[in-house]
């Protein structure tokens, strides 16, 4: 917490004054850089400090610090390979399953260090759920898909309780009415958009506190995308959501805050409205005006 107080004013006050060079290459070779805008909030749900991620010898993320506020939707944008997905995956330690991946930095969830030795990845991932780029329902029935989490975690003590959790989760994912008569049909038989909402329902079923979404709409058509975006809007009442997206319009529509990543660095973060209307960093401006992407 100490460091937060030291850094926040620095980042805030210097923000406007700095005009870094436009040369992307030169920029990426810089050892030290400072994130423009407001990476820190007063009541964070999750905090990440000085994050470095390496795949083998290759550094994928360079010294990123970012807070995720309680019950907010934060969007992470940036060109392909900028490290936004990698950063998202560090938040529930999904990078642990990649053997060559090494993560440095401090991460907290409600003040608990999530990379502490006694921290349990099972519990962490139950608290910080994840929805993936490609809808990935298990090759099981719709019911079994949603019931999977509660079953493995032992959240339901009776069949009735489990039924209730499944129905509730499907309702929250606004899928229940469409599938209530075919709960025993395979989840893989649904349309792409329905599959993705099923995956959201599956994540909700274990009552997570944070939901990480990794480009959840990139494999969907515009109508299905709209449904998911509506859903995200509803979900933010109860959950904290971090969404990585390729679509700037989507970020603008669903998020309150937006973070712009570039070549493994967090360039700028701030109010979504401000980022899209008055970006302070040249790279951000270039990206949102579509000069590269």
């Amino acid at each position: 917490m100490e460091r937060v107080e030291q850094q926040e004013p620095v980042a805030g006050s210097k923000g406007d004054a700095i005009r870094p060079p436009l040369d992307i290459q030169a920029h990426s070779e810089q050892k030290d850089y400072e994130t423009i805008g407001t990476p820190f909030v007063t009541d964070p749900k999750m905090t990440a400090r000085n994050v470095n991620v390496y795949y083998g010898d290759k550094q994928a993320i360079t010294t990123i610090s970012l807070d995720i506020g309680r019950n907010e939707v934060i969007a992470m944008i940036g060109p392909s390979g900028c490290g936004k997905s990698t950063f998202l995956r560090t938040l529930n330690r999904m990078n642990d399953i990649i053997p060559i991946c090494r993560v440095e930095g401090e991460f907290c969830l409600d003040g608990d260090d999530i990379y502490a030795d006694d921290q349990d990845t099972v519990l962490l991932r139950a608290r910080v759920g994840m929805v993936f780029q490609k809808p990935n329902p298990f090759p099981k029935s719709i019911y079994e898909n949603v019931a999977y989490g509660p079953k493995i975690h032992g959240l339901a003590h009776s069949k009735a309780e489990l039924d209730e959790i499944v129905e509730d989760s499907l309702r929250r994912a606004s899928l229940f009415n469409e599938v209530k008569d075919q709960l025993d049909k395979p989840g893989t038989g649904l349309s792409g958009g329905q599959q993705q909402r099923l995956c959201i329902a599956r994540a909700i079923a274990v009552s997570p506190e944070v939901i990480l979404m990794d480009e959840p709409c990139s494999a969907l058509d515009p109508i299905a995308t709209a449904r998911i975006e509506e859903l995200i809007d509803e979900l933010k009442e109860n959950y904290t959501i971090a969404i990585v997206t390729h679509s700037m319009q989507q970020a603008a529509r669903v998020s309150q805050r937006t973070a712009y990543f570039h070549m493994g660095k967090l360039i700028e973060v701030g109010d979504t409205k401000q980022i899209f209307t008055m970006p302070k960093h040249e790279l951000t401006e270039n990206y949102i005006t579509g000069r590269f992407g």
């Binding site: 993936f132 493995i152 274990v206």
Partner: protein, 462 residues
């Protein structure tokens, strides 16, 4: 002329044709500005002439070699007195063999009767005539081919396309050999099996509960005793295969899971090749190991706890067969588990499932069809495995499912019936082909089903 000499002369003719063809290609263009006027390079005209000289002549030579022996035999036989021609096939064969060995100078005339000596002279005459005709015919065909090709050579002739067309057909022929092999297998087992089923009703074979082919030597007992019942062999085969699967499937599957999901890359890089050595060990070595080490060990173990174990128990053969199949199951399972998309793994881990929950509740159910297909392939392999059971399983067909007893298998019986001297009109020998037919179709069926299941499974995730 010896066949080798004929062949060598043919090769020489081919080489000469090549140079003639090349020379002729220069000759036909002498007034037209040389080789530039040719459609193809001069060497292609050479190749063309060479192929025309070689291929038809080679075909003639091979066909002649294939049918020579049979035709001469029939010609000599037809000249023999009716008394000889009415002999039973086996006796006639012996009679004829004496003629042949005398004709080749291997035996002297003292053991033969007068007709045989005469027949031997005929045989020798036919044999030498055949050799001369063969040589003459082959050379004539080669010459004709070469001349025909040489006469065709003109500047506009597309020799390259011509040669490549021929070569393409030869390539096709090579790959078509696979079909011919299958056809050959089916024919060879089917014809003899049909002869067998003329002697033994097919229902008796398929549903008979007793197998003792040794009694068939006395012709009167064959039909009456019904001793060609296939059921005990099938049960014995399945029993040993089942024991093998009980060993191979858990060990192979768990090893594959551990190596692909838990082990470090370095551990896997060392472990996998070492375990795959088990797949490279010849089956005869496993047979030796089963018969001389494992079987006595199991027998001793059983006796120490008061069980009677046969010295050629199904357990010993099955156990060793299981060891042999472990790497097979392991690499198939490995392929199949790796074909499950990573997204499913991530989905499950991402919501807090432990690795074993992910494996047992997501990966294995998703991979189940593929694994079943792999196990079917392994079963087919166990059923067709020969040397281990020949060396370590029993010979007498006992209808039992007790793995501590000695049982026999289809492959053991095929080997037992066919090793040594055989007569091809004896049901005992023909029975081996009937068993071969069953073995071929059972394994074929298992393979086809397994490959279909595995392919469907892969398509699901593509």
């Amino acid at each position: 002329m010896e066949t080798t000499t004929v062949f060598l002369v043919l090769v020489l003719l081919t080489i000469i044709s090549f140079f003639m063809g090349r020379k002729r290609s220069h000759a036909v263009t002498s007034g037209l500005g040389g080789a530039r006027a040719l459609h193809s390079l001069p060497k292609h005209y050479g190749y063309m002439a060479a192929l025309w000289a070689l291929l038809p002549a080679l075909l003639v030579l091979v066909l002649w070699l294939v049918f020579e022996h049979g035709v001469i035999t029939r010609m000599v036989l037809s000249e023999l007195p009716p008394a000889v021609q009415d002999m039973p096939a086996s006796q006639q064969g012996l009679y004829f063999n004496q003629i042949v060995s005398y004709a080749h100078g291997a035996t002297d005339a003292s053991m033969l009767d007068e007709t045989q000596v005469l027949a031997a002279q005929h045989y020798r005459f036919y044999d030498s005539t055949s050799r001369s005709i063969k040589a003459l015919l082959v050379f004539l065909v080669a010459l004709a081919g070469a001349i025909l090709a040489l006469r065709q050579i003109r500047p506009a002739l597309r020799a390259r396309n011509h040669v490549e067309g021929i070569l393409k057909w030869m390539l096709f022929g090579c790959s078509f050999l696979a079909v011919l092999t299958t056809l050959g297998i089916v024919m060879s087992v089917l014809f003899e099996a049909i002869r067998f089923f003329q002697a033994i009703p097919i229902a008796d074979f398929l549903f008979g509960l007793e197998w003792s082919p040794q009694m068939a030597i006395r012709a009167d007992q064959v039909a009456a005793s019904g001793s060609f019942g296939f059921v005990p062999l099938l049960v014995g085969t399945l029993l040993i295969s089942a024991v093998a699967m009980v060993i191979a499937v858990p060990v192979g599957l768990m090893s594959a899971i551990y190596l692909s999901e838990y082990a470090t890359r370095r551990f896997r890089a060392v472990t996998k090749p070492v375990l795959e050595i088990l797949a490279g060990v010849p089956t005869v070595v496993y047979g030796f190991f089963a018969a001389l080490t494992v079987a006595p060990f199991i027998r001793g173990l059983g006796e120490s706890i008061g069980l009677h174990v046969a010295s050629e128990s199904a357990l010993a053969a099955g156990l060793v067969m299981g060891i042999m199949i472990i790497p097979f199951v392991m690499s198939l399972s490995d392929d199949i588990i790796n074909a499950v998309p990573d997204t499913l793994r991530e989905a499950s881990l991402g919501m807090g499932a432990t690795m074993n929950e992910t494996i047992r509740k997501v990966l294995l159910p998703a991979a189940l069809p593929g694994i079943v297909g792999g196990i079917l392939l392994a079963v087919s392999r166990a059923i067709g495995e020969t040397m281990i059971v020949v060396m370590a399983a029993g010979l007498s067909a006992k209808l039992t499912i007790n793995p501590l007893e000695a049982v026999t298998t289809i492959t053991v019986q095929i080997v037992t019936l066919l090793v040594g001297d055989q007569e091809f009109d004896n049901p005992k020998t023909l029975a081996a082909f009937a068993l071969g037919l069953v073995l071929f179709f059972v394994t074929l069926l298992l393979n086809v089903i397994a490959l279909y299941v595995v392919r469907k499974y892969r398509e699901q995730y593509e």
